[in-house]
Every structure is written in structure tokens, then in C-alpha cells.
């Protein structure tokens, strides 16, 4: 029994320390504001984590700082902007809507809009081509009745391939 205990102790001493602080703000609204700000910032320690999900102790310290700012009454945007101003642009994960960051926002809707314009142009061209084609001869009364019957049958036919 003694050996596993010592092994465990050694393992925990070797392992990175577990977050000891990181206690939530007493006020729920303050905690919510701080959490919302954390979700919009990159962790300075593990770059593929946002601050709110980073397990590292250094991130816990920064989270506490954000809680203090929230407790002072700062808004989410103010906390995010202030943290980026102090700690650097690397923490930003929502591109600015100006400068180079603007490209991140405008390119996706531009692609969709461009696609819709192409479809619109195709539709116009198709209609123009259809307009110059000769009109088909009008259906006779018999044809109309047969067509109506066929359509009714088609609409009610179960399992038709569409």
C-alpha cells in the first residue's frame, strides 16, 4: 500500500499544479459578465483554448483579474478591450470590424451574395432564351382532360421517385 501512495504523491508533485484560486465571483451577474468576456478571449497559456476553458493556473489568475473588473462594473466589451490593450492582440479571437479584420467578416456574405447574383443571372438568361422559343400549340380539350387525370394520378401515386 505504501508504494502506490508514494507513487501517487510523486506523480502529483511532478504534475503541473492544479488551479487553486479561480473561485467564482460572489455575485452571479458579475460572474456571468466575467464568463462572457472570458469566452471572447484566447488563453495566453494554451493558444487553442479560450480563457474560460483553459485548465492552466496562469489562465486562472487572469480569470480572477477579469472577475475583479466585472465586479467594478465594467461591461463585457470593456473587459475584452481592456485585456487586449494590456496583454496584446494575440488574445483577440473575434476579429475587429475594421482594417484587415474586416475582411474576415465581409468575405463569407460576399460569396453568398455573389452566388445568388450568378443564379439570378442564369434565371434571367434562361427566361430570355425561353421567350424566343416558339409557343407550344395550345392543348385541346381532350389533351387537357388526359393531362389532368395523369397529374392527379401522379400526385397520389405512392412511392413515386421525385
Amino acid at each position: 500500500m505504501r508504494l502506490p501512495v508514494l507513487a501517487a504523491l510523486a506523480a502529483l508533485l511532478l504534475a503541473p499544479p492544479l488551479p487553486a484560486q479561480d473561485a467564482p465571483a460572489e455575485d452571479a451577474a458579475t460572474e456571468a459578465t466575467a464568463r462572457a468576456a472570458m469566452a471572447q478571449l484566447r488563453s495566453p497559456v494554451t493558444p487553442f483554448h479560450t480563457l474560460d476553458m483553459c485548465p492552466d493556473l496562469a489562465a486562472a489568475a487572469l480569470r480572477d483579474t477579469l472577475r475583479m473588473e466585472a465586479a467594478r462594473g465594467a461591461s463585457v466589451d470593456e473587459i475584452v478591450a481592456g485585456t487586449i490593450a494590456r496583454r496584446g492582440e494575440e488574445l483577440r479571437i473575434v476579429p475587429k470590424r475594421s482594417g484587415v479584420g474586416l475582411w474576415a467578416w465581409i468575405a463569407p456574405p460576399a460569396v453568398l451574395l455573389g452566388g445568388l447574383l450568378v443564379v439570378g443571372a442564369w434565371l434571367r438568361r434562361s427566361r430570355a432564351a425561353a421567350a424566343v422559343e416558339p409557343e407550344p400549340e395550345a392543348l385541346s380539350g381532350d389533351d387537357r382532360e388526359r393531362l389532368a387525370a395523369a397529374l392527379a394520378e401522379w400526385e397520389h401515386e405512392p412511392g413515386e421517385a421525385r
Binding site: 476553458m53 476579429p95 484587415v100 405512392p158
Partner: protein
């Protein structure tokens, strides 16, 4: 055994190169013997890759730490299960695994078409062998699983703790099955372009392959979400991580393709678009593998960085894009549309819009994923794009798709009349309005959540009406009961009704995702005996009483476990545990969350911190303070249920059925067909 593995890889490369050359030359000059040899070489490559894979597994099981790969991803304490799955635990092995799955699918495709589609097969076999050859070059040149250490360590580094989870053993193979299966339709598309046979034949031939690939990719993505939810321990299931995004890219174009081929089959339109979509889907699968394995973009999945692989992959991708574009340009005359788009109010236009939105979503995800690299390349400043960016860009597109899911399958072909629109959409629109008004009256003010549920109700109503109309008509015509009529209805047209079931699954999944708007969360620091209460949006109150922290050593790790007694609405509901694990070999600490599942919400418990963890083990901290993050994750179970429904729907569509598709005579044409005897009787051409 292990030495045989490396030899097998080298022989497989030679065989794949021979197969590529023999297939293309044989197809070009009409030498049936060469084509036959190329096809047989596909089986040979499969056999050799099986040998190589078994050799890697044998090295893991034998603790052969002289190999860098084994030493990097295993250790003596690792369980047998994770040693076997070590084949795809790291970059090197997973490239072999990718090639193995591709060889398996290539062999199945070659075997399946040994007596049909002979005009396609030389170039199909050649394309598949060329791709296999590429992967074998990457493996042998830059990522050899049999690379030796400079000395043999006594033990290995062990497997990354986050990968020691059962979902991680299922998620990568399923995803890879999806990626690799999309290679088969791609190879047929290339062959159709080279042979000039650009009617719907290559599409119907590969329909089931496309569905199979989509099935695996969808499930692979959902398994990955389950892994993230259970293992990453932050309460979410999707983080817009570059590698997650990479798996979504081919899914988006593949789904667009599944819809747009119907337009080509029915109206002879969108031929270029379909060829481009399936090529894009395959290329994005390669890009996904590249992003996962190069480590070029920071990701929770980037367990290694290998710039040699990055450059080889980029070169291959560039070549594929250039060749694909050149082929499409060369055959542009044969890819012209046979039908016309007559109205924006038509099924063709609805499917086209759906395709545009899928492609726009793909572009948004790709753009956001690569933007840090692009911005750094142009300005020297890396501009990151995180989850809030992807949410803001993609949620509107997702809602658009949700609405189109209800419109596309029921709107009339060519041009919808006001009567048709009223008949098909009056009831679904009324359902959507009732749901939206009900939610607003209930005090829900989250715009996206209201829109999701309203559009979901609209789409569900269209599907229910379709089933009801079809069943009623069949019951009347065939004089059957409702249930037999429904069963026969689905059985007679599995593709259509299976598709509807997939739509139902997607709607349920979307609603589950929208449940995020109602998540409730509390973070508290507690001493033993203290409690916290949290109310769920469904009106339940959970009371969690922290009992104590226990610890013990397990194979490979030490666990610290916080036990929490749970009461639901004043009644005892068991004990939940949340853990911190300290892995010995990797010297890493991970969280294991506690989840109490119900049909509509998960109570999710994270052990965020422990005050003086060492003191617990030394016995100097008898009343440890813990920080607990408690969440009520509303409707998360619906995401998994929706995924299961989608899987069932895809299987219905995949399942072969009598009288489902038009039968066509098996065509044995072309010069390369000389190697095969003519079929005694016609058979189904569909794969």
C-alpha cells in the same frame, strides 16, 4: 514481423505506382491485360497495407520502444485496448490507417465493378492507385512508422491522456472512413471526365458510395462532438477548432452534392456544378487530413508538427486542384445543361439555393480557419478567429438551411403555382407561427432559438405531411392498413423517405443546438457538506451537496475524485463524481466530468479546482475546498438523438430495395472491356 511491415510499405508503393501507370496506359491504348493487372494491384496494395498495419499493432503490443512511433504513443502501463488503437493514435500511424481504409474501399469498388462500368474502371483504378501512391510516399518519406530511435528507451511516453477515451477510439476511424469513401465518387468523376461519359451514369454508379461516405463522415463528426463533450471538460461539444472545422468542410460540400445530383438526374442540369462539388469534397477531405496532420494551424488536435508533410500535402493539393480544373475546362462543352431554370419558385431553384448556402457555409468555415494564416501572410499580424466569430457567421446560414430543408422536397419542379405553394406550405407555415408565438408568449426572447424552433416546426410539418399523404394514398389504392402502407411506402422509395428521416434527425439536432440559448451555469467554491442549487429551464431544481474528495492510483494515472450528492426537486437522485487525473508518463493533468443525463437536459459537473491537492494525498488537507462548475445543458441529448435518427435515415436510403431504382442493362463497352467476358444477362449498374 515489424521488419516485414516496412518492407510491405515499400512493395506497396512500387505496386501502387505500377497500378497507376498500367491503368492509365492500359485505358488509353486499350490494353485490357494492363487494366486487369492494375486492378489486381489494388488488391495487392490492400494486402500489403494490412501486413504493415498488423506490424505496427504488433510493435505496440510487444512494447517495441526502439520505434519512435511506439515510444511516442505508448508505454508499458497503457491498456491493451489503447495499444491496439495506437495504430491511429498519432500522425504516422493514422496516415497508414488512412491508406489502409482507402485501399479497402478501392478494392471493394474494383471488385464490385469487375463486370460492369468497364469503360470507367481503367481511370478509376488509376486514380485510386495514384492517391494511394501519394500517401505511401508521404509515409515512407516523411512519417515512417518504423523509424528507429537513436537508442531504445526502457518505456514509452504514453498516449495523450485526452485520447484515452472510448470515443477517441471510434471517432477517428469513422471520420477516416468518411474521408476515404469520398475518394470513390471522385475517382469515378475523374474517369467520367477522361472518358467523356458525362451523363448521369457515374452519378448513379457512385450514389451508394456517396451516401456511405456521408454516413461515416456524419457519424464521425458526431462521435467527435461526444468526445469533446465528455473529455475536454468545458461543457461544450463544438469549439470551431481548426480540425473540427476541417471535418465539417467536406461534409458541407458532400451534403450539397447529395442534393444537387437529384437535379441532374431529373432535369439534366448542374453537370459542371456536380463534378466540381464532388471534386471539392474530395479535395477538402485531403485538406482536412493535411490540417490534422501538418500542425500548421494551432489546434487541440495538433499533437505534432511536421512541415515536411505540410509541404508534400500542399504540393499534392495544388496538383489535384490544377488537374481537376483542367479536366473540367477540357470537357466544358459536354457539361452543358440540358434543362433550364424556369422560375425562382421551383424545386430546382430551392435546391440550388440550398447548395449556395452549403457552399457559402463551407467558405465561411474555411475562410475563418485559414484567416489567421492569411492575415499573417499579408500583414505580418496573425488575426485569430474563435468560436464567437464562427457562431456569428454560420448561425444565419444554418437557419437558412433549416428553412430550405422544408421547402426543397415539396415545392413543385419547374415552376410552383400559387395553388401548389398554398397546398404545400399553408399548414407548415401555420405550425411555425404557432411555435414562434408560443415561445414568445412563454417568455423566450432569444431570437435564434425562436427562429430555430419555428423553422424546425415548419420543416417537420412538411415531412409529416409527406409521409401522411403518401401513406393515405397507398392505403387507399392498395387497400392496406396504415402501418403496412407506411412500411411499403418507405420500402418502395428508400432514398426519398430515408432522406426525409435524415431531415427529421437534422431538425432535432438543430433544436438540440439551439438549446444552448437556455444553458444555466454556476461556479462555486465549496467545503465538504456545503450545497449549491441550480434551477433548470424545465422547472427542475437540482441541489448538489459536496461530500468529499477521494483519491487512488490506477494503471497509468492517479485520480482525485470529488463526490457530490444530487437531489432533484427535493428527492435523492444519486451521487455524481468529477475527477482530476494526473497521468504519470505524460505528466499531464486532465479533467473528467460528471454527467447526469435526462431526455431533455444534462446536469454537467466539472471539478474546476482543488485547494491544496498535494495536502489531500499527504493527509494534511482533511477538508479540501473544491471549485465546482455546475451546468444544466438544455437539450444536449437531442443532438445525439438527432444524430442517431440521421444515421437511421441514411441507412434506409442506403439499403438496397426491389423496385427502388430504374434498372438498366449492364454496359460493357470501350476498348478496355476486352479483358472481361460479356455478361450473360443484364444487371443493375448501380453500385
Amino acid at each position: 514481423m515489424t521488419q516485414i511491415g516496412e518492407v510491405a510499405l515499400w512493395v506497396a508503393l512500387l505496386l501502387a505506382l505500377w497500378g497507376t501507370a498500367a491503368a492509365f496506359v492500359g485505358g488509353r491504348i486499350g490494353r485490357g491485360d494492363l487494366v486487369l493487372s492494375a486492378e489486381r494491384s489494388v488488391y495487392g496494395v490492400l494486402g500489403l497495407l494490412v501486413v504493415a498495419s498488423l506490424a505496427i499493432i504488433a510493435a505496440f503490443l510487444g512494447n517495441e520502444y526502439r520505434y519512435q512511433y511506439v515510444a511516442g504513443y505508448s508505454n508499458r502501463e497503457l491498456s491493451l485496448f489503447y495499444k491496439v488503437t495506437g495504430l491511429w493514435a498519432g500522425q504516422t500511424g493514422s496516415l497508414v490507417f488512412w491508406a489502409l481504409l482507402l485501399a479497402l474501399f478501392a478494392s471493394l469498388a474494383v471488385f464490385q465493378n469487375r463486370r460492369r462500368n468497364r469503360e470507367f474502371m481503367p481511370y478509376v483504378a488509376g486514380t485510386l492507385q495514384a492517391i494511394l501512391a501519394f500517401f505511401l510516399v508521404v509515409i515512407l518519406a516523411a512519417s515512417n512508422p518504423f523509424e528507429l530511435m537513436s537508442f531504445t528507451p526502457a518505456d514509452g511516453r504514453g498516449l495523450n491522456p485526452q485520447l484515452q477515451n472510448y470515443w477517441m477510439t471510434i471517432h477517428p476511424p469513422t471520420l477516416y472512413l468518411g474521408f476515404t469513401a469520398f475518394t470513390i465518387p471522385f475517382a469515378f468523376a475523374v474517369s467520367a471526365l477522361l472518358t467523356g461519359r458525362l451523363d448521369t451514369r457515374w452519378i448513379t454508379t457512385t450514389r451508394r458510395w456517396t451516401l456511405l461516405a456521408w454516413f461515416f463522415l456524419t457519424n464521425g463528426i458526431i462521435f467527435g462532438m461526444m468526445w469533446a463533450y465528455e473529455e475536454l471538460g468545458w461543457g461544450g461539444w463544438w469549439f470551431w477548432d481548426p480540425v473540427e472545422n476541417a471535418s465539417l468542410l467536406p461534409w458541407l460540400t458532400g451534403t450539397a452534392y447529395l442534393h444537387s445530383v437529384m437535379i441532374q438526374e431529373k432535369r439534366g442540369m448542374l453537370k459542371v456544378w456536380n463534378v466540381l462539388l464532388i471534386m471539392a469534397t474530395f479535395l477538402l477531405s485531403i485538406l482536412a487530413t493535411f490540417l490534422t496532420r501538418s500542425g500548421l494551424i494551432e489546434s487541440v488536435h495538433s499533437f505534432a508538427q511536421n512541415l515536411t508533410i505540410a509541404w508534400i500535402f500542399l504540393g499534392f493539393l495544388g496538383t489535384l486542384v490544377a488537374v481537376s480544373a483542367a479536366l473540367v475546362w477540357w470537357r466544358r462543352d459536354r457539361l452543358s445543361s440540358e434543362g433550364r431554370l424556369e422560375s425562382f419558385l421551383s424545386r430546382e431553384a430551392a435546391f440550388l439555393t440550398n447548395n449556395l448556402v452549403f457552399v457559402a457555409a463551407m467558405f465561411a468555415v474555411l475562410w475563418g480557419t485559414l484567416f489567421p494564416l492569411i492575415s499573417e501572410g499579408f500583414t505580418g499580424q496573425k488575426i485569430a478567429t474563435g468560436p464567437p466569430f464562427f457562431d456569428r457567421v454560420n448561425i444565419p446560414l444554418g437557419l437558412l438551411l433549416l428553412g430550405l430543408m422544408g421547402v426543397g422536397p415539396v415545392i413543385a419542379w419547374r415552376k410552383a403555382t400559387p395553388r401548389n405553394l398554398k397546398r404545400n406550405f399553408a399548414v407548415p407555415l401555420a405550425c411555425a407561427a404557432v411555435v414562434a408565438l408560443g415561445m414568445l408568449a412563454g417568455g423566450v426572447r432569444h431570437t435564434y432559438a425562436v427562429l430555430t424552433f419555428a423553422l424546425g416546426a415548419f420543416t417537420l410539418a412538411t415531412v409529416v405531411i409527406e409521409f401522411w399523404k403518401g401513406t393515405r394514398a397507398r392505403a387507399r389504392i392498395e387497400d392496406e392498413g396504415a402501418l403496412p402502407a407506411l412500411a411499403h411506402l418507405v420500402g418502395r422509395n428508400r432514398r426519398r423517405y430515408g432522406g426525409y428521416v435524415v431531415h427529421v434527425g437534422l431538425v432535432i439536432g438543430f433544436m438540440g443546438i439551439a438549446g444552448k440559448a437556455f444553458y444555466v451555469e454556476k461556479t462555486v467554491a465549496l467545503t465538504p457538506g456545503e450545497s449549491v442549487e441550480i434551477a433548470s429551464p424545465f422547472g427542475h431544481t437540482y441541489r448538489l451537496t459536496y461530500q468529499d474528495v477521494s483519491w487512488y492510483t490506477a494503471t497509468n494515472m492517479t485520480k482525485l475524485i470529488a463526490s457530490v450528492a444530487v437531489e432533484k426537486d427535493g428527492e435523492r437522485a444519486g451521487v455524481m463524481t468529477a475527477e482530476k487525473r494526473s497521468y504519470r508518463q505524460r505528466e499531464e493533468v486532465t479533467s473528467e466530468v460528471g454527467i447526469r443525463r435526462a431526455w431533455n437536459e444534462d446536469l454537467y459537473l466539472i471539478l474546476a479546482g482543488i485547494d491544496d491537492a498535494d495536502g489531500i494525498i499527504r493527509g494534511t488537507n482533511p477538508r479540501p475546498v473544491v471549485t465546482l462548475r455546475v451546468m444544466v445543458n438544455t437539450l444536449v441529448p437531442w443532438i445525439w438523438f438527432g444524430g442517431a435518427v440521421m444515421a437511421v435515415g441514411t441507412l434506409i436510403a442506403l439499403w438496397p430495395g426491389r423496385g427502388e431504382e430504374p434498372r438498366r442493362p449492364g454496359a460493357v463497352v470501350g476498348r478496355a472491356a476486352a479483358a472481361r467476358p460479356r455478361e450473360p444477362s443484364p444487371e443493375l449498374v448501380e453500385a
